[in-house]
Amino acid sequence: MPPQDFGAAAKTAPSALAVPRVVGRLRSASASERREWLLAFCLLLPALTMLAVFVAYPFLRGIWLSLTDTVIGREGDFVGINNFIKLWNDSIFRRAAQNTFVYTGAATVLKLALGMLVALMLNNLIGFKRFLRASMLLPWIVPTVLSTLAWKWMFDPTFSIVNWMFYHLGFIHVRIDWLGGPVVAMWSVILVNVWRGTPFFAITLLAGLQTISPDVHEAAAIDGANAWQRFWRVTWPLLMPVTMVVVLFSVIQTFADFQLVYILTGGGPANSTHLFATYAYQLGVATAKLGEGAAASIAMFPILFLVVLFQLWYIRRGGAGKGGV
């Protein structure tokens, strides 16, 4: 496995002094240095062009759109922060915001707990490890929309196999409409997210666990630590850097999720299970109000930005450097 280091670049990231320093070095460079810079510039050009045209520009355009009353097919006028005020007073949007936090929080905690459990069990397993690892990654690699369709069918109110199984196992006595009520639908969506995301947690944490030397555990065991103490005092701290990166990565993905809700509930019943992204889709595509839709999706940005900042800070602090998957 190639040793990765997101930290290296982050550690040398720009400070306020970077610009004058760069200008100074440009002036005092030798011919061979300049040749190297020219080569670097040429090599970076294709990637940077793509990212400028299809990421940076759309991002700025999105901010602009969110400040206008554009609808699809008609250029809008500047309306200031009206769209955001409108959203703030929109009960569906508030519900969507609340849902997104519940969804992200609950799903991440469950994925981490389950993933950790599975990783610990796999780490203790002697045979079958490769087979199990390969087969449990399937939910992660198969197109999410397609596997979510299978769940939608399993949750079908009339033909639900989940109901059938739970009924025959004695868990339920009446029919449950898994996607029919606001609360139960939200938890069904969370369940499917956990189903899809746990393998990713398990495999990555397992990779982290495999770098921890068994000697550390033996030493702790000789000192009289029981299994529980060994986990919390030895494994957990050593695994922290990997855990942190996986959790932050997953928080971003879950927070900005679209597919699961779009397929399972479409935001229903009665707009009660929308997330930021699905509501932005409903506004911006289904009802063609591009300005309002852009505002609803830009509303995710501050939170995502904070998570990314935290991640960069954590990497730079050197936290992620030590663990190494």
């Binding site: 496995m1 720009p14 197109p143 369709l149 069918w153 059938w164 029919r175 960069l312």
Partner: protein, 285 residues
């Protein structure tokens, strides 16, 4: 003796049984997808609380759903579209990512660190943040409803990923290798293309497989940028053409879901190790 038996019992209770349950829950939806895909309609629509509801198997497997998929929908076309789009966007992303990664990992130039961080941050930008303005940009370029809309936009999330994966890979290759080549009279670019890239082949393969899977699975851009039935990709085609209003054609839907999943599962089964290393590499600190 008793102690050994006790240990074995505990190993079953704390390891084999929970892992077994986990694997069953993980794989069950795929099994159910497969059973539904070959189950005849008359057997499918029996409410779950009837005694003759037999969920786990079917005694009269049928290929009618698959047949419907290929005769009455454009499924073959969607497969072809998805394959083309995924291949081309992966190629673009590998090209851009490889060159950028080489520059960031090997060359010393002012602002390199900041650029590396910048690319890392774009890696974290979710598609749902940009899909509306990006759709607008696509309309401006008159690319809506053409495969190019996706071939040009998928690299935006593939390039950062490929760049980071390859940067890590390049760092493991000793610098002396290129320096020797340069002493022997090769230019820097020749050394890069003839020496470093071939050595980095396993990394390039990992990045390529992962990028291909990501493009194959992408949904929201394809949903928003494509509108006519002939240009759709598999995930969007299945969802939009086999659901009419509130009517779900579950047989063909599951057959389509199964067939749409098989190619990635197939590729994956050959490259599990590369895939896992790309995945764990991509999030590694």
């Amino acid at each position: 003796m008793a102690q050994v038996a006790g240990a074995r019992w505990r190993r079953w209770a704390s390891l084999y049984i929970p892992l077994g349950v986990f694997v069953i829950v993980t794989l069950f939806p795929f099994y159910y997808m497969a059973v539904t895909a070959v189950r005849p309609d008359r057997e499918m629509y029996i409410p779950w609380n009837r005694p003759n509801f037999s969920p786990f198997w079917t005694l009269q497997p049928t290929l009618e759903h698959l047949q419907l998929l290929f005769t009455e929908t454009l499924f073959a076309r969607w497969l072809f579209n998805t394959l083309t789009i995924a291949t081309l966007s992966t190629a673009i992303a590998l090209f851009c990512g490889l060159l950028a990664a080489y520059a960031l990992a090997r060359l010393r130039f002012p602002g390199g660190g900041a650029l590396g961080t910048g690319i890392f941050v774009t890696y974290l930008v979710p598609q749902t943040l940009l899909f509306l303005p990006l759709g607008d940009v696509i309309r401006t370029f008159h690319l809506s409803d053409t495969p190019w809309a996706l071939i040009f936009t998928y690299p935006t999330f593939l390039i950062p990923f490929c760049t980071w994966l390859m940067m890590g890979y390049f760092r493991t290759i000793p610098k002396e290798l290129e320096e020797c080549a340069q002493i022997d009279g090769a230019t820097r670019i020749q050394a890069m293309v003839r020496i470093v890239f071939p050595v980095a082949m396993p990394g390039i393969l990992s990045a390529g497989i992962f990028a291909f899977t990501l493009s194959w699975n992408e949904f929201i851009y394809a949903l928003v940028f494509l509108s006519s039935a002939t240009t759709k990709t598999v995930p969007v085609g299945v969802v939009s053409e086999l659901v009419r209003g509130d009517t779900f054609f579950w047989g063909p839907l599951m057959a389509g879901a199964l067939l749409g999943s098989v190619p990635v599962a197939f590729i994956y089964s050959f490259f599990v190790e590369q895939y896992v290393s790309a995945m764990t590499g991509a999030v590694k600190g």
